[in-house]
């Protein structure tokens, strides 16, 4: 492996080390880590080359590594030639072995843990994590946190508090006695001590298991409402916070009473031990209760800038379908609240590192994964430094945790290239597409058309789902509006015309009357939130729930306000 750099600080990229790259990075003091991050950005090609070599080095003695001949691979091209692009099913049998506790299967050593992911069919998939893989995630978290804090340093002021809505770290074990957790449960573990003091929620609540969602929500709002110095909210799926705000107004009386007396309302079902320790934390605060009452009297609601005067930062997912949710919640928060992207990732890894406020795009974690990008309709992959601004790609990763040229089936978009490094944002899953006969339209392309129309018509959409009716051969859009009533027919016509002008296949099919005109179904207010509540899987909460954009069934009639079809049909 050639010696690439002379720089003292970055000997790790010289490739002649005992330790793996994640091990070296984990030992770096924070300032050096950030410097390294900037350095890596400027040298993407070389960083990726070295990372791939490192990944292969730490897998060459595994079953997979031996079968593929990792130890002989000297170039990226060789790797790409020998190893095919893969998906989950290709790993199933290896993962079964790993579950039983086997080692040196996909990578050297044992599995450190598994991440459970819901998968599209609802059956949980388990993704293995090696020690190195866990380190990579921890390092990405650390860099993300440091950058986030430097974008919003005011939250570090001694008295300011942060509401972090985390997911319980599930403790389950495989037959081989290897722990199973959730992707975001790990993030809470990695939090530095000084930050823990700033949390609004007591640690017992953050780690509580077997608590119903209703109870957790009530307790979360209780502690948050009590805390006047709330400065930031960290919640990956910000729809959850939205729902909490709704509940806050609904349960206002109980909450105020509880704050006043320093107790928890008996209607909330909590195990006794937990109730006791939480009560301990809740000192009676009649002053705060009075203050809140006065605010309610003045504004006829719990006005957010009044109850939390220093609330100025939100960190959550902002890309893909979360974009609309963010737009929605922005309407009820003060305009000075900064939104910082939490970061694009999945059970398979944490991939990007956001660096700008109000921008979901981020730089790739080039030190932790070998990335390849598949342009749509193409066979050959590109590397990070070869990408072009404004293009869409399917993401393929090779990780320290045994995934080799694994197609994430995620579509990412390159917002810009800075110093040869791409700033990417997650757009949608590649399975999210409209397919009707010979029409193939990506969900994000359709979404862009809808976006244009809403801007022209000066409407705002809270939520949209897309349905292809294969029987009646038509496209149907299920929409919840932000507030005003749409002039339905105008919108439908505008959307139809736009789609016809932008997509020749659709135009042809409509012209030949192969397709019926598209339809719009307007749903009641609160539809999206009700979907969240209904879709929560056992043991999970809203924060962990993603709503499907592509649906197969029509919604229930009770929730429909208006069904707009073409006038003459």
């Amino acid at each position: 492996m050639e010696r690439i750099f002379a720089q003292k600080d970055f000997n790790i990229l010289n490739g002649e080390n005992e330790k793996s790259i994640p091990e070296i990075l984990k030992e770096m003091p924070p300032q050096q880590l950030i410097k390294f991050f900037h350095f890596m950005k400027k040298n993407p090609e070389v960083t990726q080359k070295v990372v791939l070599q490192d990944i292969l080095k730490h897998a060459e003695k595994s079953e997979f590594g031996k079968a593929m001949g990792f130890s002989e691979m000297k170039t990226i091209a060789e790797f790409q030639k020998k190893v095919p692009i893969s998906q989950y099913c290709d790993y199933e049998s290896s993962i079964d072995d790993l579950k039983m506790g086997a080692s040196d299967v996909l990578f050297e050593g044992k599995t450190a843990s598994f991440i459970a992911t819901s998968g599209s069919s609802g059956i949980p998939k388990l993704i293995p994590e090696s020690k190195n893989g866990e380190l990579v995630k921890a390092i990405v978290s650390e860099i993300r946190t440091l950058l986030l804090l430097s974008l919003a340093p005011e939250i570090l002021a001694p008295d300011k508090k942060i509401l972090a809505i985390t997911n319980p770290n599930e403790y389950d074990k495989t037959q081989g006695n290897i722990p199973i957790g959730s992707a975001s449960g790990q993030a809470a573990k990695d939090m530095p001590g000084e930050m823990q003091k700033k949390m609004v929620l007591p640690i017992e609540l953050m780690g509580a298991k077997n608590l119903s969602n209703e109870a957790t929500d009530y307790l979360t709002i209780l502690f948050t409402l009590k805390e006047k110095q709330l400065a930031a909210v960290v919640c990956s799926n910000i729809a959850h916070f939205n729902i909490l705000l709704n509940k806050m107004n609904t349960f206002k009386d109980d909450l105020l009473e509880d704050i006043n007396c320093g107790q928890i309302s008996s209607t909330v079902l909590i195990p006794d031990g937990l109730r006791e320790s939480l009560n301990h934390r809740l000192k009676p605060d009649p002053q705060r209760a009075q203050e809140l009452r006065e605010i309610f009297e003045k504004h006829h609601q719990l006005d957010i800038p009044s109850i939390w005067p220093n609330f100025s930062v939100v960190s959550c997912w902002m890309s893909a379908s979360a974009q609309r949710i963010v737009k929605d919640i922005k309407m009820r928060l003060p305009e000075w609240v900064k939104f910082l992207e939490w970061g694009y990732g999945a059970s398979e890894g944490k991939f990007n590192i956001p660096t700008k406020p109000n921008d979901p795009a981020g730089f790739l974690a080039l030190f932790g994964y070998f990335f390849e990008f598949l342009p749509q309709g193409n066979e050959n992959t590109l590397q990070a430094h070869e990408l072009k601004q404004g293009e869409y790609y399917e993401l393929i990763i090779t990780s320290y945790s045994g995934l080799y040229r694994y197609n994430m089936k995620d579509i990412v978009y390159v917002e810009e290239m800075e110093d040869q490094s791409p700033r990417i944002v997650f757009i949608s899953k590649s399975s999210e597409r409209l397919q009707l006969d010979n029409l193939e339209l990506m969900a994000y392309e359709m979404d862009a058309v809808i976006q244009k129309i809403t801007e022209e018509q000066n409407e705002e959409i809270r939520f949209v789902q897309m349905l292809t009716d294969k029987k009646e051969k038509k496209l149907v859009f299920i929409i919840e509006l932000l507030s005003r009533e749409i002039s339905g027919e105008l919108f439908r016509t505008a959307l139809e015309n736009r789609l016809r002008s932008e997509n020749s296949v659709y135009q042809e099919n409509r012209r030949l009357k192969q397709f019926a005109p598209l339809e719009i179904i307007i749903m009641k207010q609160g539809y999206r939130d009700s979907l969240f509540t209904r879709s929560i899987m056992a043991g999970k909460n809203v924060n962990q729930t993603k709503l499907k954009i592509m649906v197969d069934n029509y919604p229930e009639k009770e929730n429909i306000i208006n069904w707009i079809k073409e006038e003459n049909s």
């Binding site: 340093p153 005011e154 570090l156 002021a157 001694p158």
Partner: protein
Amino acid sequence: MLDLITKNASTEYGKKYHFDEITTIEEYKKNVPFSIYDDYASYIERMIEGEKGLITNDPIIHYALTSGSVDNPKKIPVSADTVKLYSEYGSQFSFAVISRALGKKWKKGRGLNLMEVKFENLPNGLFAGSISGRGVYSIKNLLFLMFTSPKEVVFPAEIMESKYVHLRFALMDKSLSFIVSAFMTGVSDLMKYLEMNWEMIVDDIEHGTINPEIKIPEDVRAQLLARIKPDPKRAAELRAEFKKGFSNPIIKRIWPEFAFVHAIGSGGFSVYTDKMRHYLGDIPIYFSVYAASESIMAICNGMESQEFVLIPDSAFYEFIPVDQDEESNETLTLDQLETGKDYEIVITNTSGFYRYRIKDVVRVVGWYQKCPKIQFVYRLNQMVSIAGEKTTEECISWSVREFAKEVKCELVDYSVYADTIVSPGRYVIIMETEKHIAKDKHDEYRKIIGEKLNIANPSIGSKIKGGVLSPSDITFVQEETYALYRDLMIMRGISGNQLKPVRVIDTLVKENFFFALVDKE
């Protein structure tokens, strides 16, 4: 500039001078007269009551109070644009210049910021206060991260002994990286205070106390005490260094990571800069900006440079050669200037002032690409002229320094007094020196200062010869007089950010003060 005129054609002022008809600079100069503060005073009164569109269509977001006269300071409107420029140049640009010059020497730890925020509320909902205060206010959520001084002294509700508090908290942080202040006087006063009071401060640090003699409001004292813990280790470190004395530059010894000072310290402030060298050793100074409330005019683009590069987009500048005839209205634009010559500067800004004479004279000392580098030389209305001989601040400054060199004394500060009680009038130099000066040599001193003044301004010499002026005199004031004057002004409510050195004794207040403190021995 022409954009500015078009944008403001609809204002009352714009209509008065037919901005809509102006398409060239010549037309501008012809149609729009020179102006001074009084020409805008009545508009400003109305703006403060809430009226808009009188002199500018740009949003005015702040009013700067100038230290005009104590009883009725002028309120200068400041546009959002100007505030933005101040913040970009004052913080981002200047710190980048410093970072570029110092590299790794600046470890980016916290600094000591002496600028305070003292605002008055105005009827139109805006604040009036110093521009530097405005700058600090705009980052108030980040102050705790970047600077050591607690908010009680940055946003003072009452007058208190702020030097103590600033020093106390700065000394507790061993990794203090720099000091930033509006003027060098603030920094040098602080160091003087440290020199005189270190024992008390170190004792307090050791025990976690605040000496009862220190004048702070009770509630502030309590809040500060709640945040202070005893630090005997740091106290011992400090004591060891202070005991060694102040003859070796002290700053590096008590703050090993200290990298620079950022303050206005050239021109009239140079005596204070000289003093600071004594404490700083070879630690560099960044001389910041040449600015007024009306506009930020020029900035240093190098460490230790005292040559300020004009900022081309901060305002439209015209220059009047000083040797030009009084009657002539000719002005030059910046490309027509000559190196080495002096000019009065005339400003047209985004805050509603057009061809405004701020009465400053600058000298072009070089060029940065196509932009002139300037230095402030003197204020026109701080010229002394008893019989038409027009003596500038520069002359006085030079004379005083030459005097100090020849007499071998250390200069603390100085002013000039136009004595017209005697007839014919004469120049009296008021001076404070580091060490007490022997009085038996007074005649000799009088002669020397007279000589120096005559060289600096030959017109004085000839007028004395011609009997129109009496021979010049020099008077020495007691130690600490100038510092006491500054403290007095602060007690009266003037912000430390705005205190400029007394160069001319031109009011009764100043007369009474300084002459009362003459060293009679």
